[in-house]
């Protein structure tokens, strides 16, 4: 639900009435989404729209839509869009950014798209340090096709293709692909947030903003993993699914900034001037200490 104040006089008295609290960004189209009740995609779309607007990026954004529930993202975000084949968004984004370095390029992918069929594309876009910003929505399931097991499905979690629960011996373990990507020197920023509650949503927005800054500042590849829910696919009510996220999902996929090389460089410079702090671990990126929020 969005508040849409009619007019907001700039010098209005600081009263509750007439004071701008929240305004739906224009880039977010005024349209009901096709997402299921309780789904987190809508919140993540809104965060993206807010960040793009606040950073004044909408007019030069080209976004890449995935295959999966968010395939219709272009129905909600009023920016130029191209649809990528399943998993290929980082390659498509590479092509765009290379021939149009003046644009801002955004990919939006789910966990099946990015962490299963698209592993080759995401790993190598990250390895090349492509100046793109990847939004990775991890809800642990293939939502659009009817709730099948994803690479991120938790051990024991039931899905339509793991009807008795994910058995690690037969079906392997969930992939923490954002941590894997953070190992690569081409990755300027990698973080994981969630839409599980209001305070997490605020932190997630700051992460998205930082990931966009990394592209604008020509720092390298940036990825934000947003843990999201799939009440229908998980067989839960929306409220139950939020609680589930805060429990087992966050346990398997810890929240926080995984790597922020610009911040690391700043703190390294600071520690050189103020001795006492130990050196960063060798090749220190994946083992980087995790903070609960973005550092930007």
């Amino acid at each position: 639900m969005t508040l849409q104040p009619r007019t907001v006089p700039r010098n209005a008295p600081d009263a509750a009435v007439g004071r701008l609290i929240y305004r739906k960004p224009d880039v977010l189209l005024d349209r009901a989404t096709h997402y299921c009740p309780g789904c987190g995609h809508g919140v993540i779309h809104r965060l993206l729209a807010e960040v793009l607007t606040e950073m004044d990026l909408t007019a030069r954004t080209i976004a890449v839509a995935p295959v999966g529930c968010a395939v219709f993202a272009y129905d909600y975000l009023n920016v130029d869009f191209v649809e990528a084949p399943h998993g290929r968004a980082p390659a498509v984004a590479t092509g765009i950014r290379r021939v149009r370095p003046d644009t801002f390029v955004l990919t939006y992918q789910g966990d099946g798209d990015l962490a299963a069929i698209g592993t080759g594309e995401i790993v190598h876009a990250a390895a090349r340090g492509e100046r793109i910003t990847a939004i990775f929505v991890n809800n642990g399931i293939y939502g659009m096709t009817g709730g099948q097991m994803a690479p991120t499905t938790l051990i024991g979690q039931k899905s339509t293709s793991s009807p008795t629960g994910r058995d690690a011996r037969l079906m392997g373990y969930p992939i923490r692909i954002t941590e894997m990507l953070a190992q690569l020197p081409g990755v300027a920023y990698a973080a994981r947030g969630t839409v599980a509650d209001a305070s997490s949503i605020g932190k997630l927005k700051a992460m998205i903003r930082r990931a966009c800054q990394a592209q604008v500042g020509d720092e390298g590849f940036a990825i934000v993993e947003a843990l999201s829910n799939c009440p229908v696919g998980w067989g839960m009510t929306p409220a139950e699914s939020l609680e589930h996220m805060k429990g087992p999902v966050v346990e398997a996929f810890p929240l926080g900034v995984i790597v922020d090389r610009a911040a690391e460089a700043r703190s390294a410079a600071a520690s050189r001037t103020a001795p006492g702090e130990g050196a960063a671990p060798a090749g220190g990126n994946g083992s980087h200490p995790r903070s609960e929020g973005p550092e930007a």
């Binding site: 909408t58 007019a59 030069r60 954004t61 080209i62 890449v64 839509a65 395939v71 272009y74 009023n78 920016v79 130029d80 869009f81 191209v82 649809e83 990528a84 084949p85 290929r88 390659a91 498509v92 984004a93 590479t94 092509g95 765009i96 950014r97 290379r98 021939v99 149009r100 003046d102 644009t103 801002f104 080759g120 594309e121 790993v123 190598h124 090349r128």
Partner: protein
Amino acid sequence: MSLLPENAVGTEPTAVDVEAGRRSRVLMKGNEAIAEAAIQAGCDAYFGYPITPQCELLEWMARRMPELGRVFVQAESELGAINMALGAAATGARVMVSSSSPGISLMAEGMSYMAGSGTPMVLVNIMRAGPGLGGIGPSQSDYFQATKGHGHGDYRVPVLAPASIAEAMDLMASAFELAERYRTPVMMVADGILGQAMEPVEMRFRTPDRQAFDWALTGAAGRPSRIIKSIDLQQERLERRNLALQHKYREIARHETRWETWQLDDAELAIVAYGTSARVARTAVARARERGIKVGLFRPITLWPFPERELARLSRRVRGMLVVEMSAGQMVEDVRLAVEGRCHVAFHGRMGGLVPTPDEVLGALKALSGKISHERPAPATPKRRASARTSPGPATAGAGARAVEGRGGRA
């Protein structure tokens, strides 16, 4: 390795360089000549992945594109390459990818998306022998793949099949023109011989004019946002999209079908062949005529659209056709469809990276000629379905990939 005079290429050529280039004939490897022709046609971005026998094309691009301030990316796979091409092409850039047969199979997915979303791109397939990993010898066994669909769905792409390096260079400009005019991927198929052989070519290039695209993604500053996509879950609307595509394909077939004929005026027999096979066939035609066999050559230049009307017309005035391919017999099916039983259609092919020799082709011609002469008088409309077939086995021992004779097919 550059075999061009430094004044002809090297940096963006000046008018003087181009003039000098026009007069110069240089010996050039097919893959490199194709790459340079694409560059001169205005290719903005190239994406590729190493595979024999097209590596020199990728290597040429790796050196030349950055030199010109253009985009070269060696992708992590052919999947990566074709999708980078999709992204770059969606912004209106002039984009090219190249690969060889197994790589084209991987690119099939992207081709389908690009055809479905109307994204122009040029793809070069330097064909090698399959199936599977097969071998690295020259082949034409990707005819079905090129003309009947690489990826899923109802779509076609124009397929250009040069028979010489000079023709391949000339067709590169046409390939970009077709791609942009019809908003479609365009394929050029050449076998490993055309990619690897060296021939004297003239440094004559053509750069198609730039169009202003009202669909290209550039960021929605000052205009409504644009979407490039192939998905449509509303079935009636998706059917309308498909009907529009089919309309486009009919337009392409009407206006863009290309072929070449040689010595067909008085011919009683015709060889139908494309690419390197057509050059072998040309030699065979010359030898057959020395022996009094009245035979000519019909060479499709576009494999799709296939010159079916012209072949149908030809089938009314010759008594038989011999289709020669470096495959088990793929184009021959389209020839039979065009001929509709009006004359004999025989086939001779080699596989595995082998090239038919002129003598093999001559033998197949004689067999066809003999079969027809037993049927005298010639029926105006044969009742039986005619399908004389020569032995697909080697007619000459040790044929191998021997040197191809004949001249570039530009009569």
